[in-house]
């Protein structure tokens, strides 16, 4: 297992390197410069460029950047003069991580529950309600939920804060719900399909013939087996959450990293774009690694084949 994880970490570093390289050259293709004030005289522009090393050829800038990254230096922002990129990210990553993690946990757990209940009560009204709920959750974009929640729960009823990040946990409730809708709906659909399959399998019938009641059979045998494919979609859902959070953070005016990312692209703030891309990539690969390890815990057949490798 340890050997397997070490191997995976090796791949993780390789992935990060490739993503950083590709992003760097893609970024160079962006039109404009970070200094697009039209009143800037030519000699000052040249001076600024020289100061940030932007007068050198692209390959040299690339090597300089990599050299910095290897030494833990992600450069300084152009937008906020003198601010270290690492500081910019670390000071704003907190709310984003909290929202993402909360949405993920709430979404998958409720989704598993909803899907399981729908499967157990297949073709009943519970199933119909769960299906409608899942379809709505999948097809309505999260910013619509965000706006609706903001308007009704926060503005009309005044139960929770409308926006900002100043009331601790209660500030995070509405954005979490808005973000959790998609993973909830996805998980519920996957869970229902798989559970229906599992419930008609031979080992469930055998468990029933042992004397397990309808609910015991679900708790002891069906739930775990149905969760195997659900684990698969956790990775892609995490990606959706990262992207979704940019919009939702904007709506709720949360000083998160998503907002920062959008701003850095529109202002050609190269070091911030690079830093954030690498960070997103890092988070994603870590999530996928966790998912793969999780697989082994849920499905013993995978655990052993992993060791054999």
């Amino acid at each position: 297992m340890i050997k397997y994880i070490l191997k995976r970490i090796g791949f993780l570093i390789l992935t990060l390197f490739l993503v950083a390289s590709i992003t760097f050259f893609l970024m160079k293709l962006l039109p404009g410069t970070p200094f697009n004030n039209p009143k800037l005289p030519a000699d000052q522009l040249a001076q600024l460029k020289a100061q940030y090393g932007l007068d050198k050829p692209a390959w040299q800038q690339y090597l300089n950047y990599l050299w910095g990254v290897v030494h833990g230096d992600f450069g300084t922002s152009y937008q906020f003069t003198g601010q270290k990129v690492s500081y910019l990210i670390s000071s704003r990553v907190g709310p984003s991580l909290q929202l993402g993690a909360q949405a993920m946990v709430v979404g998958t757990l409720l989704g598993i529950l909803l899907g399981a209940v729908a499967a157990i009560r297949k073709n009943s009204w519970v199933d119909a309600v769960a299906t409608i709920f899942a379809i709505l959750g999948r097809s309505i974009p999260n910013f619509v939920f965000a706006a609706l929640l903001q308007y009704f729960v926060a503005f009309k009823w005044g139960v929770l804060p409308v926006a900002l990040w100043e009331d601790g946990f209660s500030s995070s409730v509405l954005p979490t719900i808005a973000l959790a809708m998609a993973p909830l709906a996805n998980t519920a659909r996957f869970m229902r399909t798989e559970m229906v399959d599992v419930l008609s399998s031979d080992y469930i019938e055998l468990a029933r013939s042992k004397g397990d009641s309808r609910w015991q059979v679900v708790a002891r045998h069906a739930l775990r087996n149905s969760m195997i494919p659900v684990v698969t979609i956790i990775g892609p859902m995490a990606v959706d959450l990262m992207i979704g959070s940019m919009v939702v953070e904007n709506i709720f005016a949360i000083p998160g990293i998503g907002e920062q990312f959008v701003k850095s692209i529109t202002t050609n703030d190269y070091p911030v774009i690079m830093g954030l891309t690498v960070m997103y990539c890092f988070m994603l690969t870590v999530v996928i690694l966790i998912v793969d390890i999780l697989y082994g815990f849920i499905d013993p057949r995978i655990r052993l084949s992993g060791e054999a490798n």
Binding site: R208, R220, D299
Partner: protein, 346 residues
Amino acid sequence: MEEILAVKDLAIDFATYAGVVHAIRHVDFHLNKGETLAIVGESGSGKSVTMRTVMGLLANNASVVSGTVQLAGEDVLAKSEKALNEMRGNEVAMIFQDPMTSLDPTMPIGKQVAEPLLLHTKTTKAEALKEAVRVLTLVGITDAQSRLKDYPHQFSGGQRQRIVIAIAIINHPQVLIADEPTTALDVTVQAQIISLLKAIQKKIDTAIIFITHDLGVVAGIADRVAVMYAGKIVEYGTVDEIFYNPMHPYTWGLLEAMPTLSTVRQRLFAIPGTPPDLLNPPQGDAFAPRNPYAMKIDQEQEPPFFPVSKTHAAATWLLHPDAPAVEPPEEIKRRKQLWAQKEAKR
């Protein structure tokens, strides 16, 4: 002999999109304590549905039209869900057809074997696992103690079927239903599983219902045999009576279709035609369209059971006193000759 299970006049319908399927059409049979009853018939004849009724495990779209199922004096069909849960795996247990799919792939086998014990008795987990080791050893899993934490995929098909048997017998059920337990196994493993079942039957004194479509397997294990066709029992008797003095043309067909050492024909016999559509069961005898001995009355009226001996009866008009004498197929004649020789010696 004491009866442990009695099924009387059982009829079961299935509601499907195509219409109502009359899967079981008035089945009667009984099972004595400690004996083995084989139920033989081709796919779709209703063997498994009958057994699922005994287990109280019918699908949601099935409905019991008539009949009673008495297990140890209690009516299974009248039992509440809770009472059924208490009955299953305790008074009656089941062995399934495909050992590759009948064990939970994500649960260690020790836990799976111990589960019925924990469900039905007040045993601690440690005690239940200890008992699981004992039963696993009994069914022939070597080094059971060290394999408790292993998962099903780490065992071969034959071993898995042994584990399924261990699960079924851990609570010493009075009735053990084996639903084609050897169909998915290699022939050599089949023989091992059959002798294991026989040994276990002696040890825990249970009655076995053995469902199969393989008459060859029946000869080795059964005391009595019931032959099912299109949702009905068409002939029943002791294993000798069915093998050497069969009366129903369907039983003849089954026996003829079985290869024997004296089989000289190039091609193995097959019963012509296909089983009837149970959405609209035919009038008269359901086997008539495939029966070369069918008479006019077979098309019109279902034959009742005609007794052959105290233990043997068949539902065919050929046994009616007015029926013309017919010449059974060669293979059956050979068998009947052996039967006559045996009878003469007695």
